[in-house]
């Protein structure tokens, strides 16, 4: 089955009110192009699972797409707090369900492996467990009495991840090997959309089958989007654009200024190519390209 869709078609796999999970980690490999398309299509009332995230969540929150956020951490690291996330959490515009990184991994694994729960020591003695006692249950081993946390399944409708290459059947290569937690959300999700830097021939997968990361039967849609993680990084091809992060954070200090920035550099460009152009085009991309590749 042909899995290649254009970005508009792929985004329609996400319905209003559904639960999506975003791949990547912090400033790395967030599926920004597909997230921007969800914003352009005006998706509403999403529940967003974002283990360790930043700009993708901040965009979705800024655009009013999010009702509930299930997360471990949202920030721009040393470049500041994520301003829209912060404002929306403080105003009550969104509900934030804070977990930790591993508690979310455990919940995703329970969902992915059809188990009633996954046990872990993570979170013991913290205030996180009491936020959601039904999904992170404090229990004791029936024989030894040892305490553990029983993490219940976290169902995900659509996983959205960014990768390096795919073929038209939906086989995907992360190149080099998967570094983040994307496989956890892909395994747990009902459907998976993968944006890739490039479509490559099916024969390339056959030539080096040990380098394949997701087999076709885990993938529902493949979208070719070069620079598809911009302004976050796609190791080892390009790094995050700190100019974008700084300008975004600076603009966010004042609503009017942010609105201008948002329209011009995020929301208005009608294609991914025009979005890249609005952010400096080739010159900017050359700046973030890693020199040693």
């Amino acid at each position: 089955m042909e899995k290649i869709l254009n970005i508009e078609e792929a985004a329609t796999l996400v319905s209003d009110g559904s639960t999506i999970a975003l791949g990547g980690l912090s400033m790395n490999s967030l599926p920004m192009a597909l997230v921007r398309e969800l914003i352009r299509q005006g998706r509403k009332d999403l529940t967003v699972v974002a283990i360790v995230n930043g700009m993708a969540v901040d965009w979705l929150v800024a655009a009013g797409c999010v009702r509930r956020l299930i997360t471990g951490l949202i920030s721009f690291e040393g470049l500041g707090l994520a301003p829209n996330f912060r404002r929306a959490a403080e105003s009550g515009q969104i509900t934030v369900d804070e977990y930790s990184e591993f508690l979310l991994i455990a919940r995703l694994r329970a969902a992915a492996t059809n188990l009633p729960f996954m046990p872990t020591k993570a979170g013991l003695g913290t205030d996180i467990l009491a936020l959601h006692p039904e999904t992170t249950r404090l229990e004791k081993d029936s024989v030894t009495g040892e305490p553990y946390v029983a993490c219940t399944p976290l169902p995900v409708d659509v996983a959205i991840v960014h990768a390096h290459a795919a073929d038209r059947l939906g086989n995907v290569r992360v190149d080099p090997k998967l570094l983040w937690m994307d496989n956890e959300i892909v395994n747990a999700a009902g459907k998976t959309i993968v944006t890739v830097e490039s479509i490559i021939p099916h024969e390339d997968f056959v030539a080096e089958p040990h380098r394949t990361t997701y087999p076709r039967f885990l993938v529902d849609a493949v979208v070719e989007v070069p620079w598809g993680a911009y302004p976050t990084s796609c190791f080892p091809i390009y790094t995050h654009d700190k100019e974008f992060f700084s300008a975004y954070s600076a603009a966010a200090r004042e609503p009017e200024q942010f609105q201008a920035f948002w329209s011009k550099r995020v929301a208005d460009p009608d294609t991914h190519a025009s979005f890249i152009k609005a952010n400096g085009g080739d010159a900017a991309m050359t700046r973030i390209q890693r020199r040693d590749v």
Partner: protein, 266 residues
């Protein structure tokens, strides 16, 4: 804030890095998270001085990385140069952390209490926060899994060192005493290094205790900067050991020649 120390040929950031670095040895297997320049410098310094076999996974991913200089993020590929292994997060990193293969972790908090618990989640109430912070990330996990925990803060003041956390995102010694052991968690916080002093934890109560004062700092200064009653050690309180010339040279010229660690002092 000032990093200068009157009459000394080293600065507070250097003293903090060197003090932490001396805690580590060849059995240290560490990793780091975001905005962690002080411990990253300390691991690299230890490896270049007394602990050549120390393991450090840059950004928790790039094992045995040996970057020629630090980048502006400690969670990005800018510090992965020279790594011997790029490890996968769920199958490799989290397996090594849970299995005790990694044994050392350093973290900070927007709030720290007397038992070394930390808050990075909210200031104010969880549901109506005055300030929504980034969230704990892997702190709740790793603080339960890793036996040798180090805390640091470049801004020792009563807003950070508080009597009661608004939210406990990561566990130190928990409620103190045997609480951590009762939960079945290994080890606990060993030391807290700040811009004013070094603190350890009382072996029974697990409450924070002054261990040494940085040059020019008085006990009263530390107590005034601390929102809870700090235990004092028996006898005289020493001055924190000064860095050696060798340590300063290596830190300045090899580990962090572009002084990225000063980003923690803005």
């Amino acid at each position: 804030m000032s990093r200068e120390i009157v009459g000394a040929d080293y600065t507070i950031d250097e003293l903090m890095v060197v003090t932490l670095s001396r805690q580590f040895d060849n059995s240290t297997r560490a990793f780091n998270g975001a905005v962690s320049f002080i411990p990253v410098c300390a691991y690299l310094l230890a490896r270049r001085t007394h602990a050549p076999e120390l393991v450090w996974a840059a950004s928790s991913i790039a094992i045995d990385a040996d970057p020629p200089r630090l980048g502006e993020s400690t969670l990005s590929d800018s510090i992965w140069d020279g790594a011997v292994m790029l490890s996968n997060s769920p199958f490799e990193f989290w397996a090594y952390a849970q299995g005790g293969h990694y044994n050392t972790f350093a973290f900070r908090g927007a709030q720290i209490d007397r038992f070394g618990n930390v808050n990075n989640t909210v200031i104010g109430s969880y549901d109506k926060p005055k300030v929504r912070l980034p969230g704990g990330g892997g702190m709740a996990d790793l603080s339960c899994m890793i036996p040798s925990i180090y805390l640091w803060s470049t801004t020792h003041n009563p807003r950070i060192f508080v009597k009661k956390l608004d939210f406990r995102s990561g566990i130190g010694w928990g409620d103190g005493g045997q609480h951590r052991a009762e939960l079945g968690l290994p080890g606990g916080p060993k030391l807290c290094v700040t811009n004013l002093c070094v603190m350890d934890f009382h072996p029974d109560s697990r409450a924070m205790r002054l261990k040494s004062l940085h040059p020019g700092v008085a006990v009263e200064d530390v107590q005034a900067a601390t929102g809870f009653d700090l235990l004092l050690p028996d006898g005289d309180i020493p001055v924190t050991d000064a860095p050696s010339e060798e340590e300063l040279g290596i830190l300045r010229q090899e580990v962090d020649p572009t002084s990225m660690r000063l980003r923690e002092f803005q």
